[in-house]
């Protein structure tokens, strides 16, 4: 690793054609992709929400399905950004050598990485949006404040896309990503207030959960969905932003080590 690898990412508008390339591929597979965006999280939300919810008293002061709806928006956005940045990103970077082809044009590694970050975040926005539409249609949220979630979802997408990219930069094969799901995604799904309130956790786990990005995502989305203003929105936004920036910087350093050494 060389000192030059730690330079801040240098960005240029040249990244746009790379983002558009991914969009063109997505458009060819749009129907199954959109179906996946709706169907998967919807089954979870409705199955658990109505099935399990019928056995439960109110959770956090609302019916369980309403509680779960906010968690599902966050969880689904995280998952979508993570899958795109890990599996699809790795295909483009390593398997298909698409990045190498692009970097023979007047683009740099930083441009490509930035385009990939924005693309994964864009795709996860569609997932979050799909769930939101279902929630609105089902009347699980009727507050105008819930429109603010449209601004929060891209931030969640950026944070998780950046983290997954940094991990993907170290991968030698697809199998490597199992570690990320076991060590990062699954614990967050359980600890960060997606399925039940964080207050149910023992004290030390609560403290641990408080530094995880998904906690700050649910802390923003849940109150907005209920028509309330989040308790500490500035901190939540700053934490998500910090994960996005730090994750992207780490990803760029690791990509440089991978490609330039």
């Amino acid at each position: 690793m060389k000192s030059g690898h730690f330079a801040l990412p240098a960005l240029s508008p040249r990244f746009i054609p790379v983002w558009r390339r991914n969009l063109l591929v997505w458009r060819k597979l749009a129907i199954p992709s959109i179906l996946g965006n709706f169907a998967d999280p919807l089954i979870y939300m409705l199955g658990l929400g109505y099935g399990l919810g019928a056995l439960l008293p109110e959770v956090g002061g609302v019916p369980y399905i309403s509680f779960l709806a906010a968690g599902t928006v966050c969880f689904s956005t995280m998952n979508s950004a993570t899958f795109e940045a890990l599996y699809s990103g790795f295909s483009r970077m390593h398997v298909q050598r698409t990045w190498e082809a692009i970097m023979n044009a007047p683009l740099t590694l930083d441009d490509v990485a930035f385009a990939e970050l924005l693309w994964a975040a864009s795709k996860s926005f569609l997932s979050g949006l799909a769930i939101l539409i279902v929630i609105w249609v089902l009347g699980l949220s009727s507050s105008f404040l819930s429109l603010w979630i449209l601004a929060v979802v891209p931030l969640i997408g950026l944070a998780f896309a950046a983290l997954a990219m940094a991990f993907m930069a170290l991968a030698r094969s697809y199998d490597f990503f199992m570690y990320y799901f076991t060590l990062v995604v699954t614990p967050m799904a359980m600890l960060c207030g997606v399925f039940f309130p964080i207050s149910q956790l023992p004290g030390p786990l609560q403290s641990f959960a408080s530094v995880l990005p998904l906690t700050h995502a649910t802390a923003l989305v849940r109150p907005l969905m209920m028509g309330e203003i989040p308790a500490a929105p500035v901190i939540n936004v700053l934490v998500l932003l910090a994960y996005a920036l730090a994750g992207f910087y780490a990803a760029v350093i690791l990509f440089r080590r991978r490609f330039l050494d």
């Binding site: 030059g4 040249r14 054609p17 790379v18 558009r20 390339r21 063109l24 591929v25 060819k28 298909q96 050598r97 698409t98 190498e100 082809a101 692009i102 970097m103 023979n104 044009a105 007047p106 683009l107 740099t108 490609f259 330039l260 050494d261």
Partner: protein, 303 residues
Amino acid sequence: MAILAVEGLHKSYGALQVLRGVSFAIERGECYGLLGPNGAGKTTTLRLCLGHSEPDAGKLQLRGLPVPAMAREARVRVGVVPQMDNLDPDFTVEENLRVYGRYFGLQDSVVRARIPQLLDFAGLAGRAGASIQELSGGMKRRLTLARSLVNDPEVIFMDEPTTGLDPQARHLIWERMRTLLGEGRTILLTTHFMEEAERLCSRLAIMDTGRVIAEGSPRQLVAQHIEPQVVEVYGDGVEHWTRAQASHLADRVELTGETAFCYASNPAPLLATLEAQAALRYLHRHANLEDVFLKLTGRDLRE
């Protein structure tokens, strides 16, 4: 002025010294070959020329621009045919060209107007809508060549462009390369095929262990480094014959496996003794670039 000038390049990866002072200069309109066994440093040299990696020492200028400092600007009018195909498998032939053009900042309308001509050149006319999976290996190579021309490049880097192709496909690529040279474009070619280098390159460098060990036109290299005639001899008793006869009559003999390579300015005495050896078969030919290459880099396998 040289369109690509390389001076004193050094590059190490950890303890491994890959380049140890590589220098050469390519003039506009030239086809310049980089030859060398695996691990000689050819691919690293190409990477440095394109600005994908930084040299530890040495200077590089591509299209008059310093690399890697201004590599991005230099690559605006550079084409690359990589060793391994990296076409976009999700796209059609036409989309591959259009999307690649965008990376150079070209408007879709500009590239669209150029596509029929590019496909024609690549022998892919009428295949615009074909998916990449439908293409044969040779067609993919030709599409990669067409893609490298989308930005009207002054210089084209070709890294083993005909490896894995059948003779028909290989000859077509060679013909196209000549056309490109005729248009005044410059080609930097790396190859393992001496015949390819001999046919196409105006000058070439033979690299080994991170250095350029010989440079010149194919003809010059053969004249300078090797005896003009070769007799290849094989068959039962070739070792005995080599010791008894060839070692005296040839200027130089290399015995590898079952074959004796006898190099000579005047092969007549050798051929005369062979007439009397019914068990031995032989082939008499002019020396070529492959003989130079093997003499300079040795016959041992490189892995």
